[in-house]
């Protein structure tokens, strides 16, 4: 947007014009007094012979005037600072008290932010309802496909199954994406990695109970990321689930903190992924092993989610022998 002149220069211009006006009236007044009382120039002269005190007083007045103008302008700078901290995700609302002229503006801004949050929430809920509403009919359709296959119409069954599978992948992918796109914009978020990782480890141990996997975590308390909790759960959940799917006996998660990022390393002792395929398994719908279960969207969702938050996921060979996924997210 184009700025229509500087507020500060206008205030200064006003102050200078006022001063000039005051000078004019003061000159008139002094002149009249001197005309009516011929002895008065002596008195004026007597006052202004004290150069030091008068100069000091004048300098002091100028200084205090300067400070007053600057202070008068400071709420504007403060407002800018508060808004940028919202933008960077440190705060959700404009906090603090402002002068009576600025406060209504701040209140309106906060109301606007609250409205924006509500709109995002509603849109997210609608996207979720749509996707979940479709899943049960899809499940019914999938069972019908099996019935068709059993009753001697394998082509029809396979065709339905294939299309249902595609629809499901599309929904899972866009659902995760819609949620991330919405929440990535929501400011002021902070999520402890240890809490999320423990919940996921509990869940995975239960889901893979027959595999007797060791899921070990080494996450320091205070290691947190600037990511919505549900999104961190989705990212770590997908990566850890993938590790559990392939692991022979153990999966591990460890975190380290660098300047502005938190690095999470997820290792497994499975067969790993061929070096030539490392990059492509992060693509949508690509599976390293077409015979393994899963949509092939898991790691692609992780990549897209991490990008929304300004993070990355990189795959490499793990010291445990299998795959290492390195997920880097902005720390909080």
């Amino acid at each position: 947007m184009k700025a229509s002149g500087s507020l500060r220069s206008r205030v200064w211009l006003g102050a200078i014009l006022w001063t000039l006006g005051l000078f004019g009236f003061a000159g008139l007044l002094v002149n009249q007094v001197m005309l009516r009382h011929p002895e008065s120039p002596q008195a004026v002269h007597a006052i202004f012979t004290y150069v030091g005190p008068v100069a000091t007083l004048a300098a002091l007045l100028l200084l205090v005037g300067l400070i007053q103008v600057s202070r008068g302008m400071s709420p504007i700078a403060q407002l800018r600072h508060r808004l940028s901290s919202i933008h960077e995700g440190h705060a959700r609302r404009v906090n603090g008290e402002f002068p009576s002229e600025v406060q209504p503006l701040v209140d309106d801004l906060n109301a606007l932010l609250a409205e924006r949050d509500r709109v995002i929430e509603r849109a997210q809920a609608k996207a979720g309802d749509l996707a979940h509403g479709l899943k049960t009919p899809l499940a019914v359709l999938l069972q019908e496909a099996e019935t068709a296959e059993r009753s001697g119409q394998p082509q029809v069954g396979a065709a339905i199954r294939h299309q249902v599978d595609r629809m499901q992948r599309q929904m899972d992918y866009h659902l995760a994406h819609a949620r991330a796109a919405a929440s990535g914009a929501a400011p002021g978020t902070r999520c402890e990695v240890a809490e999320v990782a423990e919940g996921l480890a509990r869940t995975l141990r239960r889901l893979y109970v027959d595999r007797h996997l060791t899921v070990s975590l080494s996450v320091a308390t205070g290691h947190a990321v600037r990511v919505e909790r549900a999104d961190l759960e989705e990212m770590l959940g997908n990566v850890l689930d993938n590790a559990c799917k392939w692991a022979a006996s153990s999966v591990s998660l460890s975190t380290t903190r660098t300047d502005a990022s938190l690095v999470m390393m997820i290792d497994d002792d499975g067969p790993g992924v061929d070096d030539a395929l490392l990059e492509s398994v992060l693509q949508r719908g690509v599976r390293a092993d077409e015979t393994a279960p899963g949509s092939g969207f898991g790691l692609a969702i992780v990549r897209d989610l991490s990008e929304v938050y300004g993070g990355t996921i990189v795959l490499s060979r793990s010291p445990l022998g299998g795959l290492r996924a390195t997920l880097t997210l902005p720390s909080a």
Binding site: H132, K135, A139, L142, E146, E233, E234
Partner: protein, 220 residues
């Protein structure tokens, strides 16, 4: 083995019912949370298939209520909500397994078998009692390696007794676990099934504990 299917979508409930019945389970159905709660309080089940988005009382509330009341019946959550956030909530709420819709019915059957097997403290897929081997995957029974033909009720009685190996099972308990709720039960029919099983598997296969019930031992 008796399974309760809690699912409000009638078509899906019917499909699950059909598949489970075909696999040799006695199946009850509940279309809302209140009915599910009632059945859980009054009947005994070996496993539950639980949808989360239910009318009247939602699935997670039901589950935590049952777990607090001390019900240990294994529960498989089968839901449209498939995010990890929801999976963690489900497992922390007391579920034993979690599947997202849409699903393959074979997968559901495999998971139910695994839940029932684990609940009985059994490690391997096949269950053995002496020369009798029961494979829940395809509802097959062999005696000394030779397949034995059983009717669906005979299979249900044998399967329940073998899952409860070395424990005395009363006639009442056996009746509860082999019939669906709306089935017309007569307690003496259990005796008939046991008699037929003894004829097919040998008189010593099932032991009668006088006044208490029946027992199958690991080496009987």
């Amino acid at each position: 083995m008796r399974v309760l299917v809690v699912e409000d979508e009638a078509a899906l409930a019917q499909q699950l019912d059909d598949a489970l019945t075909a696999a040799g389970y006695a199946v009850d159905r509940a279309g809302d949370g209140l009915r599910a709660d009632f059945l859980m309080q009054t009947e005994s089940y070996d496993a539950l298939v639980l949808d989360l988005g239910l009318p009247k009382i939602d699935g997670l509330t039901l589950l935590s209520r049952w777990r607090q009341a001390g019900h240990t019946t294994p529960v498989l959550i089968l839901t449209a909500r498939g995010s990890w956030h929801e999976k963690v909530q489900g497992i922390d709420g007391g579920a034993d397994d979690y599947m997202a819709k849409p699903f393959q019915v074979e997968e559901v059957l495999a998971r139910i078998r695994a839940l029932i097997r684990r609940a009985g403290g059994l490690a391997s897929r096949e269950i053995r009692a002496g020369a009798i081997v029961l494979d829940p995957r395809d509802a097959r029974v062999t005696l000394g390696g030779i397949p034995v033909k059983l009717t669906s009720h005979e299979f249900k009685v044998l399967s329940y007794l073998m899952h409860q190996r070395d424990r005395v099972v009363s006639q009442m308990e056996l009746t509860e676990h082999i019939y669906a709720q709306d089935f017309d039960r007569e307690s003496n029919t259990v005796e008939v099934f046991v008699a037929r099983l003894r004829r097919k598997l040998g008189a010593s296969a099932i032991e009668t504990v006088r006044g208490l019930g029946y027992r199958m031992g690991a080496s009987s």
